[in-house]
Amino acid sequence: MRATTTPPPSREPHRWRNTARFRRLGLQTTPGRIRALAAVVVLAIAGFYFVANIAVGNARDGLRVIGHDAGPQVLATGDLYFALSDMDSQVASILLTGREHSPGTRQQALHRYNRDRATANRAAIQAAELSADDPTDQATVRSILDGLGRYERLASQAMVLDAQANHPAGPPPRNVIAVYRQATDLMTQELLPPAYNLTLEGGATVREAYAAKRSAVLSGRLWVALAGLAVIAALAGLQTFVTARFRRRLNLALAVATLGLLLLTVSAVRLLSDQAAHLQAAKTSGFDSILTMARARAISNSLHADESRFLLDPGRADTYSLAYLDKSQAVLYAASRNLGEYYTALGTAIKAYRANPRAVRFLGFYGDEARAHPGPAVTTLLSRFQQFQTDDQRIRQLTGAGHDRQAAMLVTGHSAGSPGYSFDQYDQAVVSLIVRHRGTFDQTIRAGDRELGRSVVGNWSVVLPLAAVGAAVLVAVGIRARLVEYR
């Protein structure tokens, strides 16, 4: 216990210290000043808590949108698009084969058709779950599923008519084409566009969330550092005042509070830096490429279907071959005025890339991918795309020479060396890149989640309020013993 019973004398009074307002606040007495300083410290702690809470909340929101909502939504809707598009592709293949299916090919196509339908249903349910808080998106997914029912009826009608027609490989009779046109128009104009637009919307959501949340986390980091410094300065001020007035060495409670807040500030700043880095990695090394490749896969499947439709429906051959060219250019853009020139330009572009993977001289999805992730996986992807295009050229040469039947047999085959096989190989290369980017993406999202604390220990929504309250209690304890002396 302290020996002194009289409070230390006040220093030379300052002019404004004698104002009425000053006296009303009780600042002319030492206990009053201690209380005022303590109030400033507590306010600063509250400010720190407020600022840190917002910054950590921004990091959490960013991770949630990118990693758990829109990111998975892009994957689910990408799968949905692929499965739907592939259903139509399989129907075209069955109709093209006619009675000339080698043992098992028709069965195989039907099997794939059913598998696609199951995948589409699963992906649609997943997409609906992920858009639980967006009624418009949910309605879109529902309408896709409704349309799918109508599509299936038309497709089976076309397949039944086709079986009855018992035609050789090549374009089926007119009545079959008429029903298939209804089916494929329904698919390409009513079912696929909303699925693709949902994928794009997921991409837009991620881009916006990333831009807003990452910069918020980074500016939050600055504010946390400033607020932490302010609290520490306020605590130091209180400490100085108390030790000077009461001629004591150190107020232990205040010192502990200062040290605690210093640690908290440093780790909060580090956490926010790491979170910003995770957001960046998830977006630029994972998500962007997932989106690019998911779109490339969707468009590729649809151009593959255009190849079959071109053979199936001679009345629309021009439409389908022009669409095929446009879509090929979207996947890999090499300047060319028609398909003939495209095959050549594609060959030249890929050859140049192989010679020097650092100088990517083509645009489109694969231009982006090759620039972002140069390496053997992209080289494989490009070679397989080129092989698929070479086979396409062969098919078009056959039809051009009047060998429709031969072209149809080629395009529907899936044995090694056939165009169907080369498309499957190409699609696998696309999928393996998606899987790879997905790995990077999941890894960074998991790291971010871990640091924000899914567990209680290290969980920032627990640590932050506890630390703030703890610091305020320490301040109260620290000044209480001094104030008691004035009772």
Binding site: A44, P194, N197, A204, E208, A227, T240, D318, L322
Partner: protein
């Protein structure tokens, strides 16, 4: 005194913290947030973009542009329509003399290397218009050896002579209204372009011309945006989605093309995606 200064700093930090939530990312200039918009439209295509005698613009493209601008929070009297031709669309966007282009602007991979495309807001189909008495031309392939009107900057004639390799003889023109005049004056044998454009001209030309009605392509009408304005592109796409959802698209198509024989598609098209 330390305590007082630190306290003041803490209060400042707190105040700044409050304003922190309002902070947003700054990016490259975008059409989003602009108070006024200059929109490039055609001035000579009836039904799509036509300058009326009083100087105002009217047509499907113009109405779609107004709808999208409203969704971007631009007041109707803050929109300036600027006439563009097929040849000037990319330059007008590039040099900033227009903010957006709604001018029967088909998305092509080649154009997509120069501008960012929102939409498409409609998918038209290329068809061919000939003189009513000309029965020799029944499909685009019959244009071999015939004179085909070629509008500078347009993709339509390229579809015929380059993409489909049909050896038509090109008759250059500056616009589709000029092409239609040339067709009637026998200075060209055919005008091949989007069915929406042809329908507008056919309605005016009456029995003098005939549309072959053998569509052979998908022409995806994009909204031209300055290259790289991603947030602008995304905002425009949301507006187009909304336009189909709330029935405006169907109403506008009916308003401008309801009296033609065209099969109008009132379902939202597959977007190009913003790059």
């Amino acid at each position: 005194m330390h305590g007082r200064r630190a306290g003041a700093a803490a209060v400042v930090a707190l105040a700044l913290g409050l304003s922190m939530a309002a902070c947003s990312a700054s990016g490259p200039p975008s059409i989003v947030g602009k108070q006024t918009l200059r929109i490039g439209v055609k001035e000579d295509q009836p039904g799509l973009g036509l300058r009326l005698p009083d100087g105002r613009f009217a047509g499907f493209d113009v109405d779609v542009a107004r709808y999208v601008a409203a969704k971007l929070d631009v007041r109707p009297d803050h929109i300036t329509f600027v006439p563009v031709t097929s040849a000037t669309r990319e330059t007008a966007l590039g040099n900033g003399s227009v903010d957006l282009v709604f001018a029967t602007y088909s998305i092509t991979p080649e154009r997509a290397t120069k501008v960012t495309f929102g939409g498409p807001y409609y998918v038209a189909h290329q068809d061919t218009m000939v003189r009513a008495g000309d029965t020799a031309i029944r499909s685009v392939h019959d244009l071999k050896g015939k004179r085909l009107c070629a509008v500078a900057g347009s993709n339509s004639w390229k579809r015929v002579t380059q993409a489909l390799n049909i050896a038509a003889v090109l008759a250059p023109a500056a616009s589709y209204s000029a092409c239609v005049a040339m067709l009637r004056d026998r200075r060209t044998d055919a005008v091949s372009t989007d069915d929406l454009i042809l329908a507008g001209f056919a309605a005016r030309a009456g029995p003098a011309v005939r549309i072959v009605n053998e569509p052979f392509s998908y022409e995806r009408y994009g909204i031209g945006i300055r290259k790289g304005d991603l947030s602008g592109c995304e905002a425009v796409n949301r507006a187009v989605s909304q336009m189909y959802l709330d029935g405006t698209a169907a109403a506008l198509l009916q308003k401008w093309f309801g009296r033609t024989r065209l099969q109008l598609d009132t379902r939202v098209p597959q977007f190009e995606g913003c790059e």
